[in-house]
Amino acid sequence: MADLSAYRFTASHEWVRVDGSTATVGITDHAQAQLGDVIFLELPEVGAALTAGARFGAIESVKAASDLYAPASGTVAEVNAALTDHPELVNSDPYGEGWMIRLEDASPAGNLMDEAGYSALVGS
């Protein structure tokens, strides 16, 4: 089980891990399990400005498509290029290699949950 003590979670199943002024964003293990086989991600371009709580992209699995909501405000500094050819990394390693974007000048949303709070939300 991944050590998620540095991760914070949204009610819409994204996570954010803040390192100084940089924040890494992905979706939770619970979310990837619900979606099943991820086949496509629509992610913002480097340089895009994100607002915490606003839609920043979409994720599509064989079963369904869902919007992605930013757990932090900031500027997109990096997009995980590996997901273009290997979107299944979101399934196999949602907290690691399946990360989606990195933000600079990040400021997390105010209503994020810690691991215990998120676990309680999804009942795991």
């Binding site: 099943g36 086989d37 496509f40």
Partner: protein, 361 residues
């Protein structure tokens, strides 16, 4: 509460993700849809399809009864033969799509789980004198599909089944279990479907998995079944057609044999111009990787002209694929696009199926 097949405990023990389908708790996937899909295309997969319904129509009046019920001509079936057909209502709409098996004493008709109550009531009403039995709760159905499937089942069968032709079956035993071994499937691959008594299914399931493991056979769920059948251009009742769809409008006109005489719906179907049916069923390849979903609008020259019936990601072709039902007057060369979640994706019409297995495989 959803019903369970006799293999339910096997699915749960294997860690399958279960979903309700056709009134049954069925495995959606055991591992991932991708792995299960690829296993069937390259090796072998094992499916529990016991949710499917089976009815038997027997006796001297059986032929006439089945001929009235289905659009295809079952009189040309010898014992051991099978055919795909649709069953229509008086208006020519499809009640269900079925497989008809010719048995020594009559016919077994395989129906969709979600249609079972409707079909059984409909068929009872129209079979007249012919004895009718609903076998659905007594029979289990296992499918072994993929390039290694035939050799695997042949090794385990008491009689030669490798010589059973497509759309034929043989009564024999597999791993000591009495089975009707049918050279049919819903994946686009070679293989068998095995009809067995429900209590025998768990033992046969275990024996097949054990024998198939060295060749990489894995259990597969309904998720892979759907991606496989759509690549193979096969219809799903309730999604690609329903009670209001005539067979010509979903490119199943080849199952209609007007020359065989009257059947339910024949008068209505005779009134349809086969070359220009009310709707046109086409294969589409949308641009980009977004998946077109059932019910999304198809545009011709920018105007609504039909809807998506099925769409998925093709793990074999590594792109988005879909089928659509277009208004009959949409020209063959129209520029089509699909409204996918607020975005317009151009789509090319392609011949069905999307995938055809290599010759000799």
């Amino acid at each position: 509460m959803a019903a369970r097949t006799s293999l339910y405990d096997r699915h749960v023990a294997a860690g399958a993700r279960m979903v309700e389908f056709g009134g049954f708790d069925m495995p959606l996937q055991y591992t991932t849809i991708r792995d299960e899909h690829i296993a069937v295309r390259t090796r072998c997969g094992l499916f529990d399809l016991s949710h499917m319904g089976e009815v038997r129509i027997s006796g001297d009046a059986a032929l006439d009864a089945v001929q009235r019920l289905v659009t295809n001509d079952v009189s040309r079936l010898d014992v051991g033969g099978a055919l795909y057909s649709v069953m229509c209502n008086e208006a020519g709409g499809i009640v269900d799509d079925v497989i008809v098996y010719r048995e020594p004493g009559g016919y077994m008709v395989v129906i969709n789980a979600a249609c079972r109550a409707k079909d059984v009531a409909w068929m009872r009403r129209h079979t007249g004198e012919a004895p009718f039995a609903d076998l659905s709760d007594d029979l289990a159905l296992l499918a072994v599909q993929g390039p290694h499937a035939v050799a695997l089942v042949a090794r385990m069968a008491a009689d030669d089944v490798a010589g059973v032709e497509p759309f034929h079956f043989k009564d024999t035993s597999v791993a000591g279990v009495h089975a009707a071994v049918s050279r049919t499937g819903y994946t686009g691959e070679d293989g068998f479907e095995l009809y067995v008594d429900a209590p025998d299914a768990p033992g046969l399931w275990d024996a097949l998995l054990e024998a198939g493991a060295p060749e990489g056979m894995i259990p597969c769920g309904l998720g892979a079944r759907d991606t496989l059948r759509l690549e193979a251009g096969l219809r799903l009742y309730g999604q690609d057609m329903d009670d209001s769809t005539d067979p010509y409008s979903c490119a199943l006109g080849w199952t209609v044999k007007p020359g065989k005489g009257e059947f339910i719906g024949s008068a209505a179907l005779a009134g349809i111009d086969r070359a220009h049916p009310p709707r046109r069923f086409v294969g589409l390849v949308p641009e980009g990787r977004a998946i077109a979903r059932h019910g999304q609008t198809v545009l011709a020259g920018g105007r609504p002209a039909g809807e998506i019936t099925s769409g998925t990601y093709s793990f074999t072709l590594e792109r988005s694929i879909a089928t659509a039902s277009l208004d009959g007057d949409v020209p063959a060369d129209a520029e089509l696009s699909i409204e996918i979640r607020g975005t317009i994706a151009a789509a090319a019409v392609v011949p069905l199926p999307f995938y055809r297995r290599p010759k000799g495989a």
